[in-house]
């Protein structure tokens, strides 16, 4: 099956998911509103008030469960389509280089012609063999940051997976190699991933379902960036977005932009990453950051959208401790920039 129709199908499914998500949110708001109105109306009648309240309570849960099931099914379908891409190396490219299996345990890795050198690791981490496994579903939550400070990359991955999964890199398994294809470049990697020297679990970026596409994309980015140690010093999401997608990528200086410009970008559906500022010498900023559950350091978040009250919804690449919805005026005070890339396929 051709790559382009698959990416088009993923794009259509993603649009459908966005529309379905909005419809479910509207449905939930309507259900909750009507239930509350019914409870208020029934409250006047002492005998039936509690009974109505008890009947109305599960309605929001039913709506939530329906939304979760439908959106999960769409995510799984996107995951299956992307797996087809990963199993099918793009046409016109050279076949993967076949190299002998490197020695993983003991001694420094031996350079193998045609394979990228193993990126330098941080302390307490070693390489271990891990086969490539595609994720069961693709969405904002499919990538989680590990024990390295590369939120700029992982947030970009979350943003692309959430809003434009058809632009994710194609990752495939060759003989004794894992191939990561980003626009303009193919990375031939040893089938090894960084693990804790003690426990043996994946040390850096990972997926909650244990699949290994995400850590292989991170490994390719570490090759590009000069090693995991360099990656862990932080970086600019705009560079990660461009490396991942090859699409024109930009940044918006948030403090200098108006609320309408920020809101338009957040709602545009383009993959976007918001960068918070450090709060080390700003007590009021630190208090506000704590109130909205922002990290106390310069950190990158995938932009998810606006809620009904025009507050910015953000996804933490940690995979937990997601920020509370941030009002636009507060957002402009606590964040320095939004990095984003175009998704329009007009070439």
């Amino acid at each position: 099956m051709g790559e382009r129709p698959i990416r088009a199908a993923v794009q259509s499914l993603t649009s459908l998911r966005t529309a379905a998500g909005a419809d479910f949110r509207a449905l939930r708001a309507a259900v909750v509103g009507r239930a509350e109105a019914a409870v208020r109306a029934a409250a006047a009648v002492a005998a039936v008030g509690p009974a109505v309240a008890e009947l109305a309570r599960p309605m929001a849960t039913v709506a939530d469960e329906a939304a979760e099931a439908t959106l999960h099914a769409l995510d799984a379908e996107v995951g299956r389509l992307l797996a087809l891409l990963h199993d099918t190396p793009p046409p016109g490219r050279r076949p993967p280089f076949v190299a002998p299996s490197p020695s993983v345990a003991g001694g420094p890795p031996v350079p193998v012609p045609g394979l990228a050198p193993e990126p330098e690791l941080t302390d307490g981490v070693r390489y271990a063999e891990h086969p490539l496994t595609p994720p069961a579903a693709v969405g904002a939550g499919f990538a989680r940051q590990g024990s390295i400070s590369d939120c700029h990359l992982v947030a970009a991955l979350c943003a692309v997976a959430d809003r434009a999964p058809w632009l994710l890199p194609a990752v495939s398994a060759g003989d004794d190699a894992v191939l990561v294809d980003v626009p303009g470049r193919r990375y031939r990697l040893r089938p090894t991933l960084p693990v804790d020297a003690g426990g043996g679990r994946l040390a850096y970026a990972h997926s909650p379902d244990g699949s290994t596409l995400v850590p292989y994309v991170e490994k390719a980015f570490a090759v590009y960036g000069g090693g995991y140690t360099a990656l862990g010093r932080g970086g600019l999401p705009v560079e990660a977005l461009y490396w991942l997608t090859g699409r024109p990528s930009y940044l918006l200086r948030v403090p200098k932009a108006g609320d309408d410009i920020v809101a338009a970008l957040v709602e545009s559906g383009q993959p976007a990453v918001a960068c918070s500022r450090p709060f080390d010498d700003d007590r009021s900023g630190a208090a506000a950051a704590l109130r909205y559950r922002l990290a106390p350091v310069a950190h990158a978040y995938a932009v998810h959208g606006l809620d009904a009250e025009r507050r910015v919804l953000l996804h933490n690449p940690w995979g937990r401790r997601h920020p509370r919805p941030v009002p636009l005026d507060v957002f402009r005070d606590l964040f320095t920039r939004i990095d984003w890339c175009e998704t329009d396929d007009d070439d």
Partner: protein, 97 residues
């Protein structure tokens, strides 16, 4: 009594979660010498509290003492995300059961 086994010492970093068994600890705020730590245990149970050196917390089914804390480095307002994320904000030492 505290153990001195290096494996029983955890460095909590500024910019990413640190795994402790099946749990993880994240830094949510810093007001030297206090640090606000979030503990996420399996099953979605999470706690958030401020700690000073000498305080005790529970994470991953074990008790940990905050040995020392360290303020984050000063950064430029437009520092790229992830900068100084490797900075150790708190050192925890596991307590014997």
């Amino acid at each position: 009594m505290t153990t001195t086994d290096p494996a029983a010492t955890v460095r909590v970093r500024l910019g990413y979660p640190v795994p402790i068994g099946a749990a993880s600890i994240t830094v949510l705020g810093v007001d030297p010498p206090l640090v606000c730590l979030g503990v996420d245990d399996p099953g979605g149970h999470e706690t958030t509290a401020w700690y000073a050196p000498g305080n005790i917390l529970m994470a991953g089914g074990a008790r940990w003492r905050v040995v020392r804390t360290s303020p984050p480095p000063r950064l430029a307002p437009d520092a790229p995300p992830g900068t100084a994320g490797d900075h150790t904000v708190a050192v925890l030492e596991r307590l014997a059961r």
